[in-house]
């Protein structure tokens, strides 16, 4: 069966000043029909660049240098801008971190939801559909007459979700959609996303820096580091038994717990500079398990068991398993 989204060995570079930043380097990920997939990574991991590449929203100084992006079996990697525009809304749509900068401040939100409906759902009774969409995101129908500034952060994010759903998408990309919200509002928006996802069988790619949020939400998780996908596994397996030393570091750090000596778990060092590429594994300088080979040669992505892939020499050499 065709995947809704298939990103294969994608590389993206940015030109910045005189240097080239290798933001994404051979990242591969896929989202199946009605599958809820998470991407976890720190800043500079390339997770948002992948999202933007999938939607065809890379800035002018970015270039896809390698790999491909397939949406519902169609290669959209190098489509012309007009063709590319037609892939947005349907099949792929998005919700971002800061709804206020994506909503039109001088247009009532009902009208903003209606725009997408008119464009992508021509049979629909527009007013009825707007009401229905507001219901789906659990907002009272009166909200249709509000302007964005009159709504709370959580309500605005619900409006963004309603706009996205109005396009009858097959794939929703949510890039840090709850990062700006406080914990209680975050919980309610996440709960809503999960409910809608299951109800209409939507494929969702949920991008976040917060492993705890992702692990509780999605079916399967990709971990990105320094522009590449270093591990993917079912959410529970990933946190219970991390396959990559970086994942293990992330899980430990996300536990926010002090060890016997009173210290918090941490990953030493810093996220690498993306304008300099070494030959080895990008995590090697920070990796407690690193061996000579890791510095010299980047490991391939290997399958571990049936539902997990890991990009680490520990699994290639079969030192364990």
């Amino acid at each position: 069966m065709t995947q809704v989204l298939e990103v294969d060995r994608l590389s993206v570079t940015y030109r910045s000043g005189g240097s080239t930043v290798h933001a994404v380097r051979g990242a591969s990920l896929s989202v199946g029909r009605a599958e809820f997939v998470g991407v976890v990574g720190e800043s500079g991991s390339g997770k948002s660049t992948v999202a933007r590449a999938v939607l065809g929203l890379l800035p002018g100084n970015a270039r896809i240098t390698e790999g491909s992006i397939m949406l519902e079996g169609r290669d959209v990697t190098h489509l012309q801008p007009e063709e590319r525009r037609r892939t947005r809304g349907n099949p792929a749509t998005m919700v971002f971190q800061d709804p206020l900068s994506y909503l039109n401040p001088v247009m009532r939100v009902g009208e903003q939801i209606a725009e997408g409906v008119r464009l992508h759902d021509q049979e629909a009774d527009v007013a009825g559909r707007v009401k229905e969409l507001l219901g789906m995101v659990q907002l009272p129908k009166e909200v249709a007459r509000s302007y964005p500034h009159e709504l709370s952060g959580g309500m605005r994010q619900r409006v963004m979700i309603a706009i996205a759903l109005g396009c009858r998408p097959k794939l929703l990309i949510a890039d840090e959609p709850t990062t700006a919200l406080d914990v209680v509002t975050q919980a309610s928006v996440l709960d809503l996303l999960r409910r809608i996802q299951a109800e209409i069988g939507l494929a969702v790619l949920f991008i976040s820096h917060d492993l705890a949020v992702v692990a509780n939400l999605v079916d399967r998780v990709y971990v990105m580091y320094s522009g590449t996908t270093v591990e993917s596994a079912p959410a529970r397996d990933l946190v219970q038994a991390p396959g990559h030393p970086y994942t293990y570091g992330l899980v430990s750090a996300a536990m926010v717990r002090r060890d016997g000596s009173g210290g918090f778990s941490t990953i030493p060092g810093e996220v690498p500079d993306l304008s300099v590429i070494g030959p080895g594994c990008p995590f090697a300088p920070r990796c407690p398990e690193a061996q000579e080979r890791c510095q010299a040669q980047a490991p391939p992505l290997v399958a571990v068991g049936g539902r997990r892939t890991v990009r680490c020499w520990l699994h290639v050499d079969g030192r364990r398993r």
Partner: protein, 275 residues
């Protein structure tokens, strides 16, 4: 309801906020609402008190009042046993250096046109010029930065996020404070860096006897860090006590909701597959 953090021996608190009230007028109306409503908090020297609440709970307003950045309607701010509520101008500035802020966004806290050395020297105006360099080097070492010539000459945008937050902490230390007011100091930091900054702040507390008023929405973090937790909701402290007590048996609905809402990993002890 207002239970300040008491010690057995009578010690002068690093900071006392006593019965603080602050009202704002609602936009487009005459009606006023209390952002902070009769809050009392005491931070003993060398200890950490966490102020937990959602956005809008009044916790950051309280921090700004403590720093005397905004006026208060009533109440008292007592720093190291000295009432600074009525102080103004130079007198206020001289006393207030003992309480240093470390806020969420290190980028906006640092003047983009000053190098690391200049930023630190500015905080050392009480030192003779020829001693500033040595002191800067010492402080940078204290915050875990290697004080090379390169680093001292760098501008904030040339630093990583983690380095920037360390420079903010270094600058705060340069004033020899007794208390740091940390308002979500980790929100901007990457997950792998968070632990480093946390450990640094814990070490500094131990080595320099610093007190922290730690403001956060993350009650789990607060519990692992603080000696005392106060939960704020709609301008009031709804519950306060030692972390264990607040976490294990939250007496109010709000704290229970806050606890339930924090995303937690569905695992207690991860085991690496390769071990």
């Amino acid at each position: 309801m207002l239970a300040p953090c008491r010690r057995e021996a009578p010690v002068t608190p690093a900071l006392s906020l006593i019965d603080i009230t602050k009202t704002f007028r609602r936009r487009g109306s005459r009606e006023r609402f209390a952002a902070v409503d009769g809050v009392t908090i005491e931070v003993p020297p060398g200890k950490t008190v966490a102020l937990v609440g959602e956005s809008g709970s009044g916790k950051s307003t309280l921090a700004r009042i403590a720093l005397r950045l905004i006026k208060l309607d009533s109440g008292r701010v007592v720093l190291d046993g000295e009432d600074i509520t009525e102080l103004r101008g130079r007198a206020l500035r001289e006393k207030r250096v003992r309480m240093q802020p470390v806020f969420q966004d290190p980028t906006s806290a640092l003047n983009p046109r000053r190098t690391v050395a200049e930023l630190l020297y500015q905080a050392m105006i009480d030192l003779p010029t020829d001693e500033r360099m040595d002191r800067a080097v010492e402080i940078l070492e204290n915050v875990g930065l290697r004080p090379s010539k390169g680093l001292l000459g760098r501008y904030p945008h040339q630093l990583s996020g983690g380095q920037r937050q360390r420079v903010v902490i270094a600058r705060a230390l340069a004033r020899r404070p007794t208390i740091l007011l940390a308002d979500e100091p980790l929100s901007g930091a990457d997950v792998s860096i968070r632990g480093q900054i946390l450990n640094l702040l814990v070490e500094l507390q131990e080595s320099q006897g610093l007190a922290y008023l730690w403001i956060t929405h993350d009650i789990i973090l607060a519990a692992s860090l603080a000696d005392w937790i106060a939960v704020m909701h709609r301008g009031r402290v709804v519950v306060s006590g030692p972390p264990m007590q607040v976490m294990e048996d939250p007496p109010d609905d709000y704290t229970r909701a806050l606890l339930a809402a924090v995303p937690r990993l569905p695992v207690s002890s991860p085991r690496p597959l390769y071990a």
